[in-house]
Amino acid sequence: MTSHSSLPWPYPVRYGQQNSYDTDVLILGGGIAGVWAAIAARRTGARVTIMEKADTRRSGAGGTGVDHWNYAADNPCSAVTPEEMTQALVDNHYGYRSGISTYILNSSAYETLLEMEAMGGKIRDTDDEFKGAPFRDENTKLLFAYDYTNRYTIRVWGANYKPLLRRQCKKLGVEILDRTTATALLTERGAHGARVVGATGVDCHTGAFVVVRAKAVILATNRPQRIFTFSSEQRGSAVHRGGSNVGNGYAMGWRIGAEFTMMEKTMRTVFASPYNFPIYGSGNMHNTWYPATIVDANNKEVPWVDCNGKVLATADERCRPAEGQKFFLMGGGNGYPPPGLKQYAGPRLIPDLEARMLKGEFTPPFYADLTSMPWYERKVIWGLMVGQEGKTRIPVVQTYEKAGFDPAQDMLQAYDFLRGQGMAEVGAPQERTFGEIGVAGGMLVDWNLMSNIPGLFGAGDLLFGSQDHGNAATTGRYAGARAALYARGVSHGELDAAQVEREKKRAYAPLAESPDSIDWKELNFGVARVMQNYCSEVKNEELLTLAEMWLNDIEQNDLRRVSAANPHQLMRALDVMDILTCAQMIVQASKARKASSDALTFRRLDYPESDPPEWRKYIVINRDGNGGVRVTDRPLGFWGDLQSNYHPRHAENIAAMQRAQVSTAT
């Protein structure tokens, strides 16, 4: 039996009880970014507390694993420098990718990975499983992915990294508040836009109210999901980011006046649809499955081509830059826009496959055929990549193999083209997403990873123009040290009792009975419907004004109807309230950008020209003190020189961690 009515709640119910804590650095969200931030802040000598909605052993979008440590240009085998890598990644997103977080990633990914290794994580082929493979460096035993010539992305055995990171937090004496969802940031005197002095939360099992006083707060929560699509009945298996990733940090930051940018960027994408297949669990040839061979129904191989259109004869050639190209960024032909620049385009399947299929040259369905690949490619794709990547070890490798799938004999079906869509399995127009994959909008930060709110830092996916597991780890580590150093120089602020009481009232509101109550799911469906209708593929001022009107209407008239029967449902209700806030942020940013932008997959019917020069800039939004929205902008590349901004701070971080000598025995 899986459904039970009226079971007694198994945890003590403590609604209204206030549990208070005091710390130097408070981290909201204990996923990959959060635990790395905690370790770094603690090593810098700060007292550290993590507030995590789930359980830090496995929580977060990256808690289930990682298979490739992307863009580690600081590794000893990389033929690409961190400066080249950052430039390429920012350019490839037409300027809409953060030079700050990207350079932190490119300059410290390997250094961070070595720390992972010291904690017990496997980062190299110590068992010599891949001896002789072209992607293996025989000296370091590191394995590389994608560009075997330039060797900047490292294949890793990351399925167990998260429990190891959590163990390290415990060893270092980090205070961990698991099953506690953060609900609001507290500011000095309760004033809008003032220094952050702590945060509140609700215990997801007991319902107790949690108040933490802190000198610095790091937002390390994930991006908002379920903005455009919600299906409680079909969604779980098909998405990268779990149901708990709702953008709590975005909503909390927004409410106190933090600045956000790129929030207008939403997209159609392969993984947004609730109708998709288990993540990484169907035949494809990009990312984790790169560079898999694809065949049609008659076992006819679909050719791969390089960026010059040259047909590639061997699997090895799919992992080499083209003539005239120094290096390439991840290939495979990911279908999600923007398409990127030719100079960095990796090998991919023939771009006219669909047309050639319609003419009869290829017959659907297609399959990923590892059987015909060299042993090392088959073994590294199935087992290491698909096996260590988040959500693959049990759901794909173990489950499929138990059902009889054998990568040496069997070809896994690709579902592309079967629904009239292209190779990218692109979803329906209404199945948009805010950053289910790719670089997305987020909190605007400076080179300290601090926002415009003093003491409020960010890390991981919440940062504007950022993405990926390695980014979460490296920016978490960097933000942890910066926040700890900041905390050294400030005293505790006083909590404002009225602000705490206001938040307590807001957070507990769903516990009140309402004669016309709705549950959190109905609220989520309602918000998603507004976004599908009025902030979707095509936008104009009228549509966006309607979106604004209807979301505000829901906020004013329907939130009071949301009802929760226990602390778990209360957590979900609070989640969807944050989803509503994030939807409002996306609408405000969409209203503020009065130009279309291919680079941001943003189309305005009333401003059809794409990326006109005067709109090639970051639109920045934040709430002013009167409930209105302030719109400013920043030029592309506003972060300035990479090296002179990064290196002194990074050196300071490392020196502070070494000086503090916080022992794991404490």
Binding site: T2, S3, H4, S5, L7, P8, P10, A54, D55, R57, R58, S59, G60, G63, T64, A159, P163, R179, C204, S232, E233, Q234, G236, S237, A238, V239, G242, G243, S244, Y275, F277, P278, G281, S282, N299, Y367, D369, T371, S372, G390, K391, R393, I394, P395, Q398, T399, Y400, A403, G404, F405, Q409, D410, M411, L412, Q413, H568, M571
Partner: protein, 99 residues
């Protein structure tokens, strides 16, 4: 036909069985309850029994409950029917699907 008792019950959520416990192996240690990123489970009121799957439709199918279980075979992931993929054996052309 047997005259089994008939009850008025609400429709169950779907997918309804993301996880299947084997009560012969599971001894109710509740590690899965502790670590589940989506808080899908509740500990059973009966000590030593498998947890209750209170929120099956919130399951993310990440599999950490299976991965981190102390007793192999105590629980398994059960993909929804609509997400059971298909494959073909290259040498024989035989078709298979996830069972």
């Amino acid at each position: 036909m047997d005259t089994q008792p008939v009850y008025a019950t609400p429709n169950p959520p779907t997918p309804g069985r993301p996880i299947i416990f084997d009560p012969n192996f599971c001894h109710g240690c509740n590690v899965c309850v502790t670590i589940c990123p989506e808080d899908v489970f509740l500990p059973s009121p009966t000590k030593g029994s498998p947890p209750i799957i209170l929120h099956p439709e919130e399951c993310w199918y990440c599999g950490v409950c299976v991965d981190d279980c102390n007793r192999q075979g105590a629980l398994r992931l059960n993909h929804p029917l609509q997400q059971r993929v298909r494959w073909k054996r290259k040498a024989t052309g035989e078709h298979f699907r996830m069972r």
